[in-house]
């Protein structure tokens, strides 16, 4: 019973949680337990290195390092934290003084034992070696994936490289043979698709059974025509090392059902939608296909309702949050585009080219379940008053129709009325330019709030060049306006991380969400704001937080140093949020951003703490940079 209790405890604590049952049991073989009354000193800096690694079972300790007669506080550690693990890597003196600040019980594990485990367990070694946040985060995925094994190992999608799934015996033929010869080969080998290559054996296209039916038989085309006249190209490629979910992303993005699987420019196989469906059950692709084939808004409604299920499947397969949100974004973009196409059919050719833009979380490609509409419309500058009036009239009806269609398909109205249906937000290019000039040159608190929403803008449909022009113009304005950046900087530091002394979470003090943490406001928003500020400083056009970090990695001094931490912190917060929302959706409760910190696992709490510390560190760097402009 005693042993079981210890195992139960260690099973929740990194790195012991990565150990199998047997190793854990063996570990307990020379485990001991010690009690330190409040105020007692567990180890002295400079004293002999303790023979043990301490795992805090209960209580709390303070870690302090003395430097030149000055005590520097390092950390508070509590239940589930370790003391003395750095000594595994050597050293014969304790590096810090550790004092129990509460009655504390520790499990003691011999250093040699930990060393032995280290040698035989790569995951534990990794834990001790990798940078703090990174290693914790990777293990959270592991943890979450294991939680979700109810789905019967479907996470294969995220662990299996395309190369393993793709059919390997790919039949290929020259693109110069005739259609009939190609059909003959397909029938001889009983295959439904044929890869065509050029003289250098590089794949140039593909024909499928459907092509033979639709483009040849149905059209009465001559069988002796060269096969390249009916092939589909350019074919989308995947690398053998890509994971299957990446392949799905590609298929969704390019709306194809076949991928050429390449290894160092040589064709290694072919991957079909069907292959993926087989290992996956339900496919995001099928939903995209359904969206594309609907011709009325009413027919789109039931399809759009299935999107949430897809998210559930992706989560249960252990998808990273960034992947899940990318797939959601891709599907939502498709849906919006289809709605706009239906609207164009209904209202006829627009009098001027236009561009449909989305911003906010949609613009950042960070949508989760419930996303308000955040959209706007830019149209070409009209040449004469007549066109101007026609455009105003056309786009008024057009945007109202789209707004209502989006509501039907599950995108609630934007409470702040940031929608193209609002005349303010459907304007010709030159008016948009004026908006930005105003926001940037005379930044008031309101203007800044407005503009940051818009700075996450992205074109979804139509004449995307309109947005490119606007973006290029406004970004150069913004990056050169110190005052404007100062406002944005103030915004980025305003949201202090919710950690009191890095010890306990500060949660809502009252109201319906008492004792809960608003993960969007306290965790995600500060990260997004910080990264946006950095992107504006460098005039980067990317809008998603992850893409911004990647783009800034080589260009921004702070990002250069903290890119990995930022990515992991963001990924982690998104994952917490999305998992929380999915759980709420399944329970049928209101979907919101509140999480109960007490329900987090030790590991999750730890990463949350790290994340908040990271936010705080970077906010301090920002304050340092913008010193004169911070109020």
């Amino acid at each position: 019973m005693i042993i079981e209790e210890v195992i139960e405890f260690l099973r929740k604590i990194p790195p012991f949680q990565f150990l199998d049952e047997l190793t854990l049991k063996n570990l307990i073989g020379d485990l001991s337990m010690e009690f330190y009354p409040k105020g007692s000193i567990i180890q002295y800096q400079g004293g002999p290195a303790p023979k043990f690694i301490y795992v805090i079972k209960k209580g709390e300790v303070k870690v302090v390092i003395k430097k030149e007669n000055e005590e520097v506080f390092v950390d508070y550690r509590g239940e589930g934290d370790l003391i003395g693990y750095l000594l595994i890597f050597g050293g014969d003196r304790a590096r810090a003084t550790v004092t129990a600040i509460d009655d504390t019980i520790c499990y003691l594990i011999k250093r040699e034992t930990v060393q032995n485990i280290l040698n035989s367990n790569p995951s534990v070694r990794e834990f001790f070696h990798k940078s703090f946040l990174k290693r914790y985060l990777d293990k959270t995925f592991y943890e979450i994936q294991n939680k979700n094994l109810v789905y019967g190992g479907d996470r294969i999608l995220f662990t299996m490289p395309v190369g393993e799934l793709a059919s390997k015996d790919v039949i290929q033929a020259s693109q110069n043979i005739s259609i009939q010869e190609a059909a003959q080969i397909m029938s001889d080998y009983r295959i439904s698709s044929l890869i065509l290559v050029d003289e250098k054996n590089t794949p140039t296209g593909i024909i499928t059974d459907r092509d033979l039916r639709d483009k040849v038989v149905a059209k009465g085309r001559n069988y002796s025509d060269p096969v390249h006249s009916i092939m589909s190209y350019p074919s989308v490629r995947a690398d053998v090392k890509d994971y299957c979910f990446e392949a799905i992303l590609k298929m969704v993005k390019h709306n194809v059902h076949h991928l050429l699987v390449m290894k160092e420019n040589k064709l290694r196989g072919i991957l079909t939608n069907h292959d993926l469906m087989l290992i996956q059950g339900t496919s995001p692709l099928s939903i995209v296909k359904d969206i594309e084939s609907q011709n009325t808004i009413d027919a789109l409604v039931p399809v759009s309702k299935r999107i949430n299920n897809i998210i559930g499947i992706l989560l249960s397969e252990g998808a990273k949050a960034s992947i899940t949100t990318r797939i959601i974004t891709e599907i939502n973009d498709r849906l919006i585009r289809r709605i706009l196409e239906i609207a164009e059919d209904r209202f006829g050719e627009p009098p001027l080219p236009y561009c449909w833009i989305v911003f906010g979380s949609e613009g950042r490609k960070e949508q989760t379940f419930k996303t308000d509409q955040d959209n706007a419309l830019i149209y070409h500058d009209p040449a004469d008053p007549g066109t101007e009036d026609a455009a105003k009239e056309y786009f008024r009806d057009f945007t109202l129709f789209v707004r209502d269609a989006l509501v039907k398909c599950g995108f609630p109205l934007c409470p702040a009325d940031f929608m193209a249906s609002n005349p303010l937000w459907r304007q010709p290019l030159h008016i948009w330019r004026k908006y930005f000039i105003n926001w940037i040159s005379t930044p008031t608190a309101d203007a800044v709030l407005n503009s940051i929403t818009f700075f996450d803008f992205r074109a979804v449909h139509g004449e995307t060049r309109l947005l490119d022009w606007l973006k290029e113009y406004t970004l150069s304005l913004a990056m050169n306006s110190k005052i404007f950046l100062g406002y944005i900087a103030n915004l980025a530091i305003k949201n202090m991380p919710p950690i009191g002394f890095l010890k306990t979470f500060v949660v809502e003090k009252s109201g319906e969400h008492k004792d809960k943490l608003n993960i969007k406001v306290k965790g995600l928003a500060p990260l997004i704001d910080i990264v946006r500020l950095f992107a504006l400083e460098k005039g980067m056009p990317e809008t998603s937080t992850v893409e911004r970090i990647h783009a800034l990695r080589d260009k921004h001094s702070i990002v250069r140093e903290y890119a990995d931490e930022l990515l992991h912190a963001f990924e982690f917060m998104m994952l917490l949020r999305i998992q929380n929302q999915y759980a709420q959706m399944k329970e049928g409760t209101d979907i919101n951003n509140f999480i109960n910190p007490n329900k987090l696992s030790n590991l999750e709490k730890k990463i949350a703490k790290e994340t908040f510390q990271l936010i705080s560190t970077i906010q301090n760097l920002i304050i340092e940079r913008y010193k004169a402009m911070i109020w």
Partner: protein
Amino acid sequence: MLDFFKIKRDTPLPFKSETLITESTYVVIDTELTGLNLRKDEIISIGAVKMFGQRIDLGDTFHRLIKPSTAFNPESVIVHGITPSDVREAESIDTILSEFIDFCDDNILLGHCILIDINFINREMKRVLGIELRNAAIDTFHVYEWLRHRQSEDRCFASPPKDASLNEIAHCFGISVRRAHDALMDAFITAQLFQRFIPLLGRFGVVSVGDLCRLGNPKGGDLFRKSGEIANF
């Protein structure tokens, strides 16, 4: 092993009384009995954990169920939860005794009201081996009482337990006590209590094993002597 006992059967095992409490090895024991009557009741399980100073060794514990020779007393079944069917497969006390003696080696024994446990174990030892335990023994309840009379203000002593039971005292010291309750678990709880006693004893200058053995003497101890009379103070 048996020869060893026969030769020195009556001399108590030696221990260095000046050894520090924090540097001595202890075996914390507990037994489950069919009742308290030394003439007719029996041991049905023995549990023990080792301690070095304040450190409890969780990897090296001792726990055995014992097949009783007579019928169970239904009342005690309620207390320890061991039913006749549980011990049907268990071994007899004769086999287990020598394993237990090996486990204890020559270390100091600790227990809550340890005299009862020792009396029962000695009765069996005499019957089977013709000798008694020669280890030094300490009653943690006596240690508790000794401390309680000296620091009634301490929060752990401020609200005295309803009774002298191990669970009640453990509760006062914030030691988590499970409802289920066996000899090993009780030995473990006793060990945790002793962990907490050690620093408290230190405040009164009780740091040597000799002093500890005096005030924790199972046969009475010197409960009410003032701390000033302790040898090394």
